[in-house]
């Protein structure tokens, strides 16, 4: 059977069905794009300036320079921590590994946030 024969035999209903299938395919793409979870980004700011945007999925060690010196951040297994900091109280290091939310080092003006992920399964914010 040739193509001409095939085309001449297509009815209006077939054409409508074909159009519907094409539209549904595009709708599916949009639906998947909207509904499926997106990857997480790690944002590192120093002194209010964004210096790194990194995927949390990739293991790496990043060093940034703040007013007090170098802060070293380790990203591993979908979480991160500060391993070295020039600040005196070392609160950023003591915070340990985080999988969501932020680590802030006020003395060295370093802010590390994990985006596109809920802060916590338990709470929206913490007071205290």
């Amino acid at each position: 059977m040739n193509l001409k024969g095939l085309l001449s035999s297509i009815t209006i209903a077939d054409k409508i069905l074909l159009s519907l299938l094409i539209l549904l395919s595009f709708s599916g793409i949009l639906f998947i794009k909207e509904v499926l979870p997106k990857g997480c980004e790690v944002q590192i700011e120093v002194n209010g300036r964004l210096v790194y945007v990194l995927p949390i999925e990739d293991n790496r060690i990043v060093s940034v320079k703040g007013p007090e010196g170098r802060t070293v951040i380790e990203i591993k297994d979908n979480r991160l921590r500060v391993t070295e900091s020039p600040c005196h109280n070392k609160l950023c290091i003591k915070q340990g590994w985080i999988e969501s939310g932020a680590i802030v080092c006020l003395p060295n003006r370093v802010l590390i946030t994990i985006g596109n992920r809920e802060y916590s399964n338990i709470v929206d914010a913490i007071t205290g």
Partner: protein, 401 residues
């Protein structure tokens, strides 16, 4: 029945092919034989066998058309509803270091663009207030008042006037436990370098601490410190005030739900996209790790919460804890509480009363809260938890109090 239905459907799917012009004679017989070989039969009421080809019955044609029309109508309706329906609401969040602390602005919106615009405006408002209210910035408005203490009356901005007015109201309601003129004593301590001043120096500087010597004139928009050497430190109220103002900015930008957190001073408004209020965790003042970091949680809507604790900035010297919440009467760290959380509508009040009630301790503190109709959670020096009646049952404890 099941088999018959299956066969009929299979057969119908082949009718288009079988009804091609040119499928005649031997081809049709062969096809017929193939259908029989594979165990198929067909129902006479659905399909009819003609001389040279098999064609659909008029009833089937009508059914097919109806199905297609229905499908098309359903799809058009689906597309129309999708286009008309509002976009799904999402939570957008941004953090920044402002006012020497971590500020996080969260908002609910169906537009990423609108959310980002509103959040940036809210953060800009906090930045503006920081420039006015920062005790450590020599360019701030508060430094201008301090430099002119005992010298001249200073014209101030409406924001400064509001903050000072509210500060005096809190001072009066806490018997001076909250006092923004604590500046001369605050500057004597260094909690990072573990520096505690001599008692004689504390006593000397305490003579400059008295909120009654802060004079404000709302009509003239002026502020004046009576004695030279007096210093206003708004650290106990400015973060809460900033949270209030940031929420106002979010609302002006069309945001109907969100959360502004300036360190531990939080103001929540509206509901989350899932229709629930915002869930706030109250930090455990004696947490040993991440596991017991939260003492309790509470759900808030159109309310603010602040916590003052002795664990934020402190050092321990000779077995005594020296922390940043200083009693304006003694010049030493207040000892009656470990942490105090206050809940009411304005974050400026929750911020300031958290400090005042912390200094007053649980007995006097609870009386103040009762009088003003505020809610609170006080963890006293022994770790016992005191709660105002209105929020009993609303607090969900994560550890045994």
């Amino acid at each position: 029945m099941k088999n018959k239905f299956k066969v009929t459907k299979e057969f119908i799917s082949k009718t288009t092919f079988l009804s091609f012009p040119g499928l005649t004679g031997e081809s049709r017989t062969a096809m017929d034989a193939r259908l029989r070989t594979s165990g198929m039969t067909y129902r006479e009421d659905t399909c009819a066998l003609t001389n040279n080809r098999i064609s659909k019955s008029p009833k089937l044609k009508v059914q097919t058309k109806t199905v297609f029309c229905l499908l098309l109508a359903a799809y058009c309706l689906f597309v129309f509803l999708c286009a008309c329906a509002p976009q799904k609401e999402k939570v957008y969040r941004k953090s920044k270091i402002l006012m020497d602390t971590l500020v996080t602005v969260t908002c609910v919106s169906n537009s990423k663009e609108n959310a980002e615009k509103a959040i940036d405006a809210a953060l800009a408002e906090i930045e503006k207030l920081d420039r006015l209210l920062n005790f450590f910035s020599p360019e701030s408005e508060v430094s201008h008042i301090n430099k002119n203490a005992g010298i001249s009356v200073i014209k101030v901005s409406p924001d400064m006037l509001d903050v000072l007015d509210m500060s005096l109201m809190v001072s009066k309601n806490t018997e001076g436990a909250f006092d923004v003129t604590i500046g001369p004593v605050i500057t004597l301590y260094d909690f990072y370098k573990k520096i505690k001043p001599e008692e004689s120096v504390i006593k000397k500087n305490l003579s400059f601490v008295n909120y009654r010597d802060l004079i404000i004139d709302r009509n003239e928009s002026t502020a004046f410190l009576k004695k030279k050497g007096m210093l206003i430190d708004l650290g106990g109220i400015s973060k809460g005030y900033a949270a209030d103002k940031a929420v106002e900015v979010l609302k002006r930008n069309g945001i109907h739900a969100g959360l502004v957190s300036v360190a531990g001073d939080i103001k929540a408004f509206g509901l989350k996209p899932d229709g629930r209020p915002w869930k706030i965790g109250i930090r455990n003042p004696r947490a040993k790790g991440q596991e017991d970091d939260i003492l309790a949680t509470i759900e808030l809507r159109d309310m603010a919460i602040s916590t003052s604790g002795d664990y934020e900035r402190f050092f321990i010297l000779n077995g005594r804890r020296y922390h940043h919440i200083l009693n304006p009467k003694t010049g030493y760290s207040a000892e009656r509480s470990q942490s105090v959380s206050i809940i009411t509508h304005r974050a400026a009040f929750t911020d300031a009363f958290a400090t005042g009630v912390f200094i007053l301790g649980p007995e006097k503190g609870m009386r103040v809260l009762e009088k003003l109709g505020f809610d609170g959670v006080i963890v006293d020096s022994q770790g016992e938890v005191h709660i105002t009646p209105n929020i009993r049952g609303k607090l969900e404890f994560k550890r045994t109090p």
